[in-house]
Subunit: 490 residues, 2 copies
């Protein structure tokens, strides 16, 4: 468009799939993470902050949910020829740390980590290439007491950030029970490993494919909408029903669910071990006062069953929100985790049992916003306007007085010529009060305070009549500035 011959100017744009966070977007997330960290700290978890950059070798070159190697990460080669990449989650760095510092860390090692991770994936609406994760893991113990502790901590964390009891439930399942069910369905033996893999992946997709889609994958196979065919596990209808029975084994009480699962796993030793673990977790939690109103055995929770090796947990918010089409639906999952016992083995050859949970930071923040449980941290500063540019020192001294009293305050620093612009600026800043002192007021030793919250309410439709006991502006002695502003902002 321009005929300017100067070199092309750089575009002022975030890279595709990245975004900026302003003001309250930053402070609200931070406040939520601080509250979660306080709970984790109370449980004896220590913070760990690894760098954003890892060797591709240490990361393992692939995302857990992406099949192709080298896919999904942002990577580059350094001057020595080593490949480096941005971390795609907080678990891979934990595995590296647990191996690298295995002689120095306490065992078991409880750690939490909060920070951004990066994924080189196609961005979409609400899907960004950098986002926050918030993880807590216990490394170095196979005891299900560790799993129970993580579930209790997750429940406490949800309540701490403002999700009331009754509005969430932590559901617990166990991969070993599913493995036992597969034994009963005739899928034990080394020659059936491929089939077991198909069953695990199929079950893991039940939310997306529904029961019929999963049944197809358990049987002959499934053709998707695009016409692509996925090979099935080749189970008979009867075998498939045993597997499907697992996902619908939840009964009215925990004891009844456990009894039903015992039936399903029959004589499978592994399956019985899994059922025992679920029972132990429920008992441990009950002893600490976490009943099924908060933490619940539910074999219907299948997400991650293909990834985890023992107990699997998922936190769901049970209150309803309106979806994009205005239909009511449950808010759904905000956190998930489970036991994964091969964390460190890649590095050291030794099996190190571990269990952990990851909170979906953006999902939980969205839930808090939907419930009106966050916000308000974004309150704007009192703006001291500039009527007389030669008396900037006086105006800055007013702002300093307010700040010394703990009140957020700033002096207008733009061109003071147009007073209307100053009030527009105060409005844009969400300022509750504008302080005004022209030469006349200065001579009389007073300041004028303009109530901008009132102005906003009137603009939003409230009548001045409704506000008649609240003056739109007051004149007070300069010496009373702080006290008067404090009265005004309540």
């Amino acid at each position: 468009m321009s005929k300017d011959k100067s070199p092309r100017r750089p575009r002022a744009e975030t890279p595709k799939g990245f975004r900026d966070y302003f003001g309250a977007e930053v402070t609200e997330r931070k406040a939520m993470l601080d509250r979660i960290a306080a709970v984790y700290h109370r449980y004896g978890f220590d913070p760990l902050e690894t760098s954003a950059v890892e060797t591709v070798e240490a990361l393992g070159k692939f995302l857990p949910d992406v099949d192709r190697p080298n896919e999904g990460v942002f990577g580059w080669q350094d001057e020595d020829g080593d490949w480096l990449a941005l971390r795609y989650d907080l678990t891979a760095p934990l595995a590296r740390v647990a191996a690298q510092f295995r002689n120095d860390l306490p065992a078991p090692y409880r750690r939490y980590a909060m920070g951004p991770v990066w994924r080189n994936e196609k961005p979409g609406p609400g899907r960004f290439r950098q986002f926050y994760q918030c993880d807590a893991d216990t490394v170095g113990t196979g005891s299900v007491a560790a799993d129970a502790e993580i579930c209790a901590m997750l429940a406490d964390a949800l309540e701490e950030v403002g999700i009331p009891r009754g509005d969430y439930v932590v559901k617990v399942n166990n991969r070993k029970v599913l493995n036992g069910v597969m034994e009963v369905a005739g899928l034990s033996g080394e020659d059936k490993e491929a089939e077991r893999g198909i069953v695990l992946r199929a079950i893991d997709k039940i939310d997306r494919l529904g029961p019929d889609g999963v049944r197809a994958l358990l049987g002959g196979g499934r053709k998707d909408e695009s016409g692509d065919f996925t090979k099935g596990a080749g189970l008979s209808a009867e075998q498939a029903e045993v597997v499907m029975g697992f996902t619908t084994a939840r009964r009215d009480s925990g004891a009844a669910t456990v009894a039903r699962l015992r039936e399903l796993v029959g004589t499978s030793v592994l399956g019985a071990e899994g059922v025992d673990e679920l029972e132990t977790i429920a008992d441990l939690l009950a002893a600490q006062g976490y009943g099924p109103d908060r933490i619940l055995i539910d074999p219907g929770v299948v997400r991650g069953l293909g990834y985890y090796t023992g107990p699997v947990f998922e936190a769901e918010l049970t209150f309803e929100i309106l979806d994009e089409k205005g239909r009511k639906r449950q808010f759904g999952s905000v956190a998930g985790g489970g036991r994964y016992d091969d964390l460190v083995k890649r590095f050291t050859g030794q099996t190190v049992p571990a269990t952990g949970v990851s909170i979906g930071v953006d999902r939980l923040l969205a839930a808090l916003r939907a419930k009106g449980r966050t916000g308000g941290e974004g309150a704007g500063p009192v703006v001291v306007t500039v009527m007389d540019r030669d008396r900037m020192a006086d105006y800055q001294a007013m702002a300093a007085d307010l700040r010394r009293a703990g009140i957020r305050a700033e002096t207008y620093l733009g061109n003071p010529k147009n007073f209307g612009n100053q009030l527009k600026y105060a409005d844009k800043r969400g300022s509750p009060v504008a302080v005004i002192q022209g030469s006349d007021e200065a001579a009389r030793g007073v300041v004028v305070l303009k109530d901008l919250i009132l102005g906003a309410q009137v603009a939003a439709g409230a009548t001045l009549e409704e506000w008649k006991n609240r003056p739109a502006q007051v004149e007070v002695p300069r010496a009373d500035l702080v006290a008067a502003v404090r009265r005004m902002i309540g």
Copy 2:
């Protein structure tokens, strides 16, 4: 060494120049940054969190202190052929944001940012390729009231994190005064641009080269230790003395320093403007109660004079520490900043004045540690030991009771067989109290509390005699667990 034929295991190592931060290293930095953020917030600054990744085009391809393009950053090409890179500071992303959102942001725009930045430089002792920066900037005003505000805010931030008044000083200088001095030295005119550049870069290096090294660069040139020759500005000895006089213009009072600077800039309009700005800043600050004991005009501050365009500030800590060789020296600089008026011009063609400050996070944290002003946040949890693995529910319930009372507590989750290992674990965790309940104590409804702080003190050389009124362990009813632990940890 191993004859194992399995594929080589990945190395569990941080990439060269990167490191991990554990426990108190994380919480102490976070506590310091939270305190700084509270001050910035009170001054009306809003947080901004940009992503770690920017287009190389937006970053400008080079570090301010590296001459070669594309040097110094971690970059890679994305699937569309665009070059992306990790941000190397927080100013370049601010420039991009200020241009991209110029129609939406309040003007002036006050923002703070805290977070990691990445530099692809040779790592060295204490020099890492990822480190924190903590910046505050005001974009969109040329008023030196903005510079004065930044200086006051910096002083407040230092006091807020625990540097007492008297232990720091914020020094203020002005690039325009130096430019005025150069005019007097006969370096005005478009044909002298190269010489002016040499003078600026020379002055900027005075800390490293000393006055003689700078004099050489002002004159014929300088050969460094490696034998490399740097061309000088070609000033006469007399001209060079005028320039050097600027760096030693500080007098006992601010007024005397200003008077001396007026002499030095002679009839230079730009120089006089710079002196006026310094005087205005000092007056504005004095009106808010910031005297020369906290914020001081000092033409000896030359760092950044080659980069900034107007006022330049630097915060120095004035208390003494012992250096590596055991010699006393002043702690020195922990923050610096100044005015830079071409922030957004690269993108939009419009000059947007801006001023800001950057706190050296690791330096300031080291200072707080040297003064014993941080620490204590790393207190370990109460450890509930496991004497009887069948009663894990009881032990977890004890930890839950302690946590409900706000006391950090955890259950031992390793193999409980060897009780000595449990106490070693508690020791490694920095635990103040171990809770013990064997079957005998359980039958009697009591718990034993072992004072581990006492144990550590005795191990560190205190005699038991000194502790005679403090029992090493007590037995209390289970119902009194929380109250008794609280008494013990004080």
